[in-house]
Symmetry: C2
Subunit: 154 residues, 2 copies
Amino acid sequence: MILSEQVNPPEIPQDTQKSLPIALLRAREAVMAGFRPVLARHGVTEQQWRVLRVLSEFGEALDASNLASRASILPPSLTRILKVLSERQMVKATKDQGDGRRVLVSILDAGEELIHKVAPESREIYADLERRYGAEKVESLLEMLDELTIKLAR
Amino acid sequence: MILSEQVNPPEIPQDTQKSLPIALLRAREAVMAGFRPVLARHGVTEQQWRVLRVLSEFGEALDASNLASRASILPPSLTRILKVLSERQMVKATKDQGDGRRVLVSILDAGEELIHKVAPESREIYADLERRYGAEKVESLLEMLDELTIKLAR
DNA sequence: ATTTTTAAGTTAACATGTTAATAATCTCAG
DNA sequence: CTGAGATTATTAACATGTTAACTTAAAAAT
């Protein structure tokens, strides 16, 4: 046995965890871990869910760019997602009259139904999160994240 | 001109932005927007960079599970990433003697070189972030994110 | 010692992220 | 009115995320 043998490697990768991008990624994963099963049980992905939610909350048709921006999804991804959601009769995409480039997307009944079915469970997950982490802290964290996003958006 | 014409749609999707997962996603995107170009200029993706960084900081070989966990990358993704990094001679993967299931990954010279070339620019980006958002706030945000991650990890 | 169970990685299949190129349409200067 | 330039959406190509199935090897049980 050699005395100068190094000690066991540290369990905590200090520097790596001090990275803001990774901390954001891990936090997001931790939050979504509770939420994803609910969506999976209803047969939709997280991104499909975001698209439906934005459309439902906005209340009327949205063009693709706007929709992509609000749902934080890149245009190429949105194109594919809309293909799936259209086949499932959850949304409808039509060409804009007056501007042939734009595609107007609106939510259909099947989409609204899904929203209404998932919403209660979703609220429950969120409530549990606030119980565990603290509702005020959630609010505070949201503000800090928004501020960071805004200050870096240039 | 019709007077009852609706006003322009609001720029700010209130409800949608109150979602923690989306806020985390947007913040992460805002941070990475400054960082990604640096990595792209050096020919690596964000995830490849994370793998190299973990290996470099750890200082010795890591088995795949451990590496995946520390880099916040899922095992299937890691398998593919290691294939690429191995071809580029940036890492080396060998079977563990004594446990034939484990794969031990270590960083090679080309990998360390990349780290040393990118690190200065990386620090610069991070410094700029702290200038814009505030170094104390970054610290505070990191703590809150870590706490959230821990409290949800069950 | 053989069987059973666990554990570690990989592969498969599909969805999305990411960047660049392309297609289609609109705008506007000339 | 026309053609250059800008805008919107799609397509392409590759990388990663995500879950499940599968393979191999180690550990535990009988």
